[in-house]
């Protein structure tokens, strides 16, 4: 009888090891898979640096003539394949509307001082984050890591506007490793 127990034990261990060896699921993400990305992932690989700065300049010229400041999504490249994925990305917080002391909406940008930097980050380097649980921010110069579902196309007030938006599930302080 002892040997039967040993055999069962061995079988259980073997099963567990096989399960572990099957390993982490491959990275063509399932819907609940969290993709760890950084800011360069938000710019399509086929677009060069020069194109981005050209587009920023062209965008600025369009401003004065038509007095609009929208970046046409057809002109400004976004990474469409990220649409609907759950991602995790670190960044700095630019608070938008605050309800009392709670930050429920903010822009996530790659560097601190985006609002005073000239030029500001291009539209595909800004993420408009909405969070149900208010963010407790230690200071503007503290980075955070945001996890949530990102989308690439938004249409507001009948005018298409370029930018990533994200419904945040979790926000934690960012620790440099």
């Amino acid at each position: 009888m002892k040997s039967l127990k040993h055999v069962t034990g061995l079988l259980v261990v073997a099963a567990l090891m096989l399960g572990l060896a099957a390993g982490p699921a491959p990275v063509h993400a399932a819907d609940d898979e969290v993709l760890k990305i950084d800011w360069t992932d938000l710019i399509p690989k086929e677009v060069s640096d020069e194109t981005i700065s050209e587009l920023m300049e062209k965008g600025a010229k369009l401003d004065e003539e038509n007095d609009t400041i929208f970046y046409d999504p057809k002109i400004f490249p976004m990474v469409k394949t990220l649409n609907g994925k759950t991602v995790r990305i670190p960044g700095y917080v630019v608070p938008l509307d605050m309800e009392l002391t709670e930050i429920k909406e903010f822009l996530l940008v790659p560097y601190f001082g985006a609002c005073i930097h000239v030029p500001p980050p291009p539209p595909n380097q800004i993420i408009y984050v909405k969070t149900k649980k208010p963010l407790n921010l230690k200071g503007l110069d503290y980075a955070v890591e945001v996890t949530g579902k990102i989308s690439t196309a938004i249409k507001e007030s009948g005018v298409a506007n370029t930018g990533y938006t994200l419904e945040s599930k979790a926000i934690v302080p960012y620790e440099e490793k």
Binding site: V94, I126, V159, N161, G163
Partner: protein
Amino acid sequence: MMPILKLAAKSLMNRWATAALTLFTIAISTGLLLGVERLRTEARISFSNTISGADLIVGARSGAVQLLLYSVFRIGNATNNITMESYDKLKKSKAIAWTIPISLGDSHKGYRVLGTNGDYFRHYRYGRKQKLAFKAGKPFSDLFDVVLGAEVARALNYKLGDRIVIAHGLGRAGLTKHDATPFAVSGILAPTGTPVDRTVHVSLEAIEAIHVDWKSGAKMPGRTTPADAIRRMDLRPHQITAFIIGLKSKLAVFRQQRRINNFNEEPLLAILPGVTLLELWGLMGTAEKALLAISWLVVASGILGMLAVILSGLNERRREMAILRSVGARPAHLAGLMTAEAGVLTLAGVVAGIALHYLAIAVARPFIRAEFGIDLPFGLLTSYHWALLGAIFAAGLLIGLIPAWRAYRYTVSDGLIVRT
């Protein structure tokens, strides 16, 4: 345990004068700590409460915090004005949903006068996106109509239809009054708990109207244009002090900010109110930490004072200890007694401190509301506050271990015979 606590209480009552003084120092220090913490959090809540839903605030180029303070909180002053041409040009943008122009520089009995238009009552939001509501009356329709904030109406006892005179400049005493053009109260706003309550609102045209006889910053003597003549003049405003912008899409905020900051016809500054508010708190953070550190030092001195009092009394109480030992108390009991005394004293001090801080709030509240427009509610203590109070009690209890130890040593060495 209970007999020791009872004994501790009775023992303190026996020396009630000294005990009361010690209790008082602990109460004051606890009240101070609580008060400082409450003021800090309430001030932040109050500041954030003041404006909501605004994406950008624009003024003449000065500093971000300065612009936020004078435009929204009515603290401090602008360095310059904005021409109406610039405002008209900048507000024409497909990205902008609404704007609110404001004009500052005059006062009434120390309350700031704000020139604006109907957009203010339509679009201004505070707190959790709350609209401005009228307690009585309505926005201005006549040229010389004025809408009062709740606190102004209450403090100066104004009602609908009352006539008031506006003074030039922002001093408390209106030395130079625009008395040829008295205003009629057309509306009184409901209380908001923000600086809106301390503001006197008139139309932009009215600001032009009251300055008709003013040339180069002085009221021309002997020249007073009657109110009727003023009404017939062209009173289109030439300048404003600042304006608030609501955008159609938040993603446009950086571009719009840059457009305004780079506007080459006039030096302007556009700020994001949320960002600047956090900058302001960052600045205040150092002062707050210093205040908190000082409060803790005061608490420490209160507790050390208690220690000094208990220790100094210890020598005289050796006979008392001997008596207690003779009726069966063990040295450990006496050590417990000392600790219990310290604990009871600290606890009573902390409770008195809580009462004291509420008293201080009650006293300070009307003054702070009148001076700053900040509402300091009584509120309940949060778990953070209870943690602070718990720390104070624990400190007092721990300090009590020192006389406990000495009492233990004394009774062991004295036994039942005290040689003093």
